[in-house]
Amino acid sequence: MNDKLHLDKAHLLEKLKQMLSIRLFEEKCAELYTQEKIRGFLHLYIGEEAIAVGVMAALSAEDQIVATYREHGHALARGLSMKSVLAEMYGRTNGCSKGRGGSMHLFDKHNNFYGGNAIVGGGLPLAAGLAMANKMQATKAITVCFFGEGAVAEGEFHEAMNLAVLWQLPVLFVCENNGYAMGTALAFSESEINIAKKAKSYGMSAEQVDGMNVVNVEAAAIKAVDTIKTLGQPYFLECQSYRFRGHSSFDGQLYRDKEEVQKWQKHGPVIKLKHWLRKNYQLNGNEFSDIELEIKNEILDAIAFAELGQLQAVEDLCKDVYSQKNMK
């Protein structure tokens, strides 16, 4: 199964770079938020980068992505440019959603990125529906749905799991289990805290993966995609991970103590892969700082791009509510 998984240095360096890009990009976003360049809610993916990067590595261009409000990492890993993502957070017309959506609603048709959904669980039936369309049209595409473990308690999780298995839909469900839904620890929200086991109870193939290890995630995702494409069945991955930052821009984090956060940070996805590359592939300081520098320049370009972006005309306020044809 892992024949598709290349553990050579080039491949791993690429994963490192992708995760680091997300990390540095979001650290900058946090900074820009305090400067009020970005407004609304800002949900950072910091600590969870291995999931999006590992899963996207297993996908093809025609595959479709459905994500949540915590989707910067998914957008970048899927191939959206920092420019279009940051410009969106600036609310500019050169943003990936023309500035209408902001951080929680990143969309990109070219990358089959079906967005940022800010309703917890809302993306699950939608992803099943995209998969149904793919099945009906006999395309090769599969649909991948990312969601947090908090969504598992929602009725829509239950309904989507049942429909996906009942109708044998080509969809990959990726549960990003970071242990908390806002301030609610998993044990306070689920009578059964093994999420993969819950998925299995619908007759779905499901497994738990170390979401802090990009190689494990990629390997599991490749296996999942193979299964979906060959057997035409849904598949479920529970990626165990951790959110290093607060839930969103406003979060006192009263619900967990610093020690817990620090413990997880020690095994962060970026640092883990970096050390591993050092040990086994003699990754040296220069190589790493070259990558870092490249990313930082990309971020600076993105900021310049966003700053130069236009604001939509107020006259266009009600644009894109209905199709042109029907615009009143």
């Binding site: 967005g115 099943a128 894109d320």
Partner: protein, 333 residues
């Protein structure tokens, strides 16, 4: 728009709905029908009877009971290039799917800056009259007519039952169609095409004395009242809204400017009703032409009670309409 009565034939509202579904399935292979008991059961009110045998289980899909789930699947399938007709058995259960309809179907185009659209049609039976009591008699058109991003249709005639679905499927945005249960068995002419664009109101009866504005299950009651008033030599104009979002304000205002009086007949509960919206629109756009305050005849503020006499008392009725018209014209006999 074809309005000749050439080869028009008479059929029930139910058969007209079925004929519309059949035509849409025949004309576009992206179209499929999905909902609770649309297949093996034949539709809770028999509308989809026989379709499973005719089109197979890939295009006529029985869903489990999970309104939010299968409506969400319909939205996703529409995003993915299909043209789903999702039947939510009755509007009474649609609240379970309302988050998907309002927060996803209605917002996706806008949130994505126009990149994605949702060519989805959702059909629901609606209305009271069968003594189905407090949880099964709702008229919630205004809950949905309030939502930007949605279009809301209310076919009141056999011809609209026959053709509005096809018009809705031509629309790139999500369209809801409300089918009133008391119309299902009614018989009427079906032409060989729709009488007007989906978003246009139609004057069902010309008149000069007063405008009665209504839609859906209330139209037959209003037309009955209009005929009764005709005998009294009162010329009523009847506006059938047909489309509840967007509203055809031009037709409404033109009629009121002609008659200077209006009554809105709406099966929704009065408070917060679509009738309120219509009254407000007339206030804003035709105030100076009004000879009397616009009146509303709506459902009483009560969950529909089971007994026949109380259900009857709760809903708009012909005699109420007749009396209200006479009061407004000061032609108390």
């Amino acid at each position: 728009m074809n309005t000749q009565k050439t080869n028009s034939d008479s059929m029930t509202y139910r058969d007209a709905l079925r004929a519309g579904i059949i035509q849409s399935l025949n004309e576009d292979e992206r179209v499929f029908l999905m909902g609770e008991d649309v297949g093996h059961y034949g539709g809770c009110y028999g509308v989809t009877k026989g379709l499973l045998a005719q089109y197979g289980d890939q295009r006529i899909i029985d869903t489990p009971l999970c309104e939010s789930g299968f409506v969400g699947v319909g939205i996703g399938a529409a995003l993915g290039g299909m043209k789903p007709i999702v039947e939510v058995m009755t509007v009474n259960f649609s609240l379970l799917a309302m988050d998907q309809i309002v927060n996803s179907a209605a917002t996706l185009r806008h949130m994505s800056g126009g990149q994605f659209n949702v060519p989805l049609v959702i059909r629901m039976a609606c209305g009271a009259g069968l003594q189905l009591a407090a949880q099964h008699s709702h008229s919630w058109e205004n809950l949905y007519a309030h939502i930007p991003g949605l279009k809301v249709l209310s076919p009141a005639t056999q011809n609209d039952a026959r053709y509005m679905l096809l018009q809705a499927l031509q629309d790139p945005d999500p369209v809801l169609i409300f089918e009133h249960v008391m119309l299902l068995n009614t018989q009427g002419d079906v032409l060989d095409g729709p009488e007007a664009d989906m978003e246009k109101a139609i004057i069902r009866k010309q008149g000069t004395d007063i405008t009665l504005i209504t839609y859906g299950g209330s139209l037959p009651k209003v037309l009955k009242a209009a005929s009764a008033l005709e005998v009294l030599n009162i010329k009523v104009e009847v506006v059938d809204l047909r489309c509840l979002r967007p509203l055809d304000k031009a037709t409404i205002i033109a009629s009121v400017e002609k008659t200077h009086r209006a009554i809105i007949i709406d099966e929704g509960w009065k408070t917060g009703s679509l009738a309120g919206e219509l009254s407000a629109i007339i206030m804003e756009q035709a105030f100076w032409t009004l000879d009397a305050p616009v009146q509303r005849i709506c459902t009483q503020e009560v969950p529909i009670p089971y007994p026949k006499h109380l259900e009857h008392a709760a809903l708009p009725q012909v005699d109420q309409i007749v009396n209200c018209v006479q009061r407004l014209l000061n032609t108390e006999l």
